[in-house]
Amino acid sequence: MTASGSYLINYGGHAVEIGFNNADAANLIQYLVKDLDLVSTATPESRLDVVASGPKPMLSLWENEKRIYFGDSHYRLAEILINEVIYRLVNNNRKQHALHAGAVTSNGHGIILPAQSGKGKSTLTGWLISRGYRYLTDELVLLSDSGQIEPFTRPISFKTTGSGFVPSYLEQITKPLLVGEHGMMVPHRMINNEYEKNSAKVERIIFPEFREGTAVEIEEISPTRSCHRLLESHVNGRNFSGLGISGLANIVRECRSFNIRYSRFESLEQFFRVPHSF
C-alpha cells in the first residue's frame, strides 16, 4: 500500500509540490504528471494536496486549509488540478513565453498549435500523433527567446461538449480512461506508443479552428498577423515589461505561420503529409 507522499514538478524553472494521502490519490496524480519533469529537490512555490477517502472514493483538492474541490469525479478533480498546477508554474515565469498551444514534432521540426479553448487544438494534436508525429503537449508550451519549446506534457484532454465530435482515432482505444461528464483524458501513448521525451525549436505555427460543416481553408499568414494571433494565446505577457513582444516577434520571424479551418481530418492529410515542406 502506498503511504502518503508527494510529487515535485519542475517546469520552466518553477516548482509545485502535489501531495497525496494514499494509493488512489497517488495513482491519479501519477496518471497526470508522469511525463513532466519530476524532481527530488526544488523549492516549490506552492503545494497542493489530493486526498482520497472511503471505498468509492470521495476526492478533495486542497491548498493549505482552502478546499478547491470535493466530489467523486476523478475527471473533474484532474481537470481542476492540472489548471491549478499550470497557473502556479507559469504565473511568475519571466523568462519564457507561456502559450496556450498544442505542440508536436516531426523529424526534429517543432510545430505549435496555438488556440484558445474550444478551437480543437487537442483533437488536432491527437490526430497528428495518430499519423506519426511525436507528442509534446495538447495544452501549454513555454518558448525561450531562441524558440525552444518546453512542453507541458500531460494526457490529451478531449472535450465532449459542443459538437459532440469524437475523433475516429479514439475508437480503437478500449482501456479505461479518465472520463467525465464533459470530456475525457487519454494517455497519449494509447494513440501513439512510440513516445520518448523530446523537444525542438519551433519552426511552424499553425492556428487551428475546427468548425463543423466547413470546407478546409489553409492560409499562410504574415509574421505580423501571426504575432498578433499568438498574443491572444499568451498566458504571461504581463511579465515581460516591454520586451516581451520583441522576443516573441523574433521567434515568429523565424517561422512560417498558417491559419487552418477544417471540419474533417481527411482534408488535412496532404497539408500535413510532409511537414517540413509546408
Binding site: 498577423r225 504575432c227 504581463r238
Partner: protein, 93 residues
Amino acid sequence: MDMNQHPRLNPDYVAEEFDEELLLYSERNSSAVYLNDTAQAILSLCSGEMTIGEIIDLLENQYPNEKKQIIKDTLVALETLKEQGILLLSDDR
C-alpha cells in the same frame, strides 16, 4: 472629431515593426492591434505635434486625387484608434 486636437500614441503601447507591417501591444491592457497600411501611415503622423486638421491637410496634399476618400479614411482610422485606446487626444501639443 475636433479638428484642433493633437493625436499622439498612448505610451502604454509598444510598436513592433515587421517588414511592411506594424503591431501595437499594450501590456497594461493585454491587447494587441494589427494595423493595416492606411492606419499605419496615419499613426506615423500622430506625434502630438500636428492637429487632426493638419494631418488631413498633409495627406490631401500628398494624394490630391483622393481628397474625399482621404478625409473619410483618416477620420475613421483616428476614431477607431481613439476608441481602442491607442491614440490620446489633447488640446495642446
